[in-house]
């Protein structure tokens, strides 16, 4: 695991082309802004779909509301690309950060939740019409989606407060949570 983290660190560090832009006066703030606009678009459109799955705004047919999901995906892509820019600039601030590990864990679970939705219940959910209830398993997926994306935002905000220290000489845990001295 430590080897994998070091490999990731070297890989992101090799993204040298992002550095001049990200370390310019407005590069980092610009990416932060896009990151936050992206997350809002994701929370608004996917969150609305999740809330409808749970029974809110029941007069909205789910197939019709699903047409807003591409906007959520667009928001996700904006956040992902800017996120990669942050990683390419300061990889050690993320790869050895406990909050980042939890954020990635929640993103992975949210991704699996999306996969479960589309491989499982989607073909029935898109037929749920005006005034009808989504099936129970779809409601669970919706609730889980709201919980997991909220968690992704929270752990994103916790990044600053879990800045990894430099590693001392003592043995570390399974996942490195300190910056190995280079």
């Amino acid at each position: 695991m430590h080897g994998f983290q070091i490999w990731l660190f070297r890989t992101f560090l090799a993204m040298k082309w992002v550095k001049p832009f990200m370390t310019s006066k407005w590069g980092w703030p610009f990416c932060e802004t896009v990151h936050f606009l992206g997350l809002s678009l994701l929370m608004g459109t996917i969150g609305m779909f999740d809330l409808r799955l749970l029974g809110m705004g029941k007069r909205v047919p789910l197939g019709a509301l699903h047409k807003l999901v591409p906007w959520g995906v667009a928001g996700y892509i904006l956040a992902l690309l800017t996120g990669i820019m942050f990683l390419g600039t300061e990889p050690d601030q993320y790869l050895f950060n406990t909050a980042f590990h939890l954020k990635i864990l929640f993103m992975t679970m949210a991704g699996l939740n999306v996969a479960t939705f589309y491989l499982g219940v989607f073909r029935r959910v898109k037929l749920v019409g005006s005034g009808e209830d989504a099936e129970r398993s779809a409601k669970w997926i919706g609730a889980l989606s709201l919980f997991l994306w909220t968690g992704v935002i929270v752990f994103g905000r916790m990044l600053t407060f879990y800045r990894p220290p430099d590693c001392g000489s003592e043995a570390t845990t399974f996942v490195l949570t300190c910056i190995p001295l280079r």
Binding site: P29, L41, M43, G44, K58, K67, R157
Partner: protein, 166 residues
């Protein structure tokens, strides 16, 4: 520096928000503020996109059922915003960008009020293409929330005094 900032920063609540190492202090307040932002700006954007003609089979009037969630997000952000302000009054009030952010939020709320009257108040608009006026309102809504988020993000990079002592 204004004596009010000096006084406020010396209160125990302000000091706790600013200096506590507890995860329940600054990190949690900031997290609430960001999750709230996602729901407030995001749900407003979803309504605006529908007005602009995306997802045309969604009955527009029914989207008002999601507004209570938007308002929960809004009040969560008003409270967490005031707490952040209590923690760093000098930082915010001496930064013109902070007033810009508040202006964008005030404008966004006015636009939302207008949307509630002219979109949610008109039953004939449910599935019909939105009027030119409502499209304009939708664009204004998107622009104001984008402005509020941008100004909010830039607060971290544009302040001149962190506290009254600095």
């Amino acid at each position: 520096m204004h004596p009010f900032f000096v006084w406020l920063e010396a209160t125990s609540l302000s000091t706790w928000i600013r200096e506590s190492t507890s995860v329940w202090a600054f990190p949690t307040i900031l997290s609430v503020h960001t999750v709230g932002m996602g729901f407030v700006a995001g749900l407003n954007a979803a309504v605006a996109l529908r007005i602009l003609g995306f997802a045309p089979a969604v009955p527009l009037l029914e989207l008002r059922r999601f507004l209570p969630v938007m308002w929960i997000g809004f009040w969560a952000n008003a409270v967490s915003g005031v707490l952040l302000l209590i923690g760093y009054p000098t930082k915010a009030f001496t930064n013109p960008v902070f007033y810009l952010k508040l202006t964008f939020i005030a404008l966004a709320l006015l636009v939302l009020g207008s949307i509630m009257r002219s979109v949610f108040g008109d039953k004939s608009l449910d599935l019909n293409p939105a009027t030119r006026k409502n499209r304009t309102l939708a664009w204004w809504s998107l622009a104001c929330w984008t402005g509020a988020i941008t100004a909010g993000r830039l607060l971290a990079y544009t302040y001149s005094h962190l506290t009254s002592k600095q």
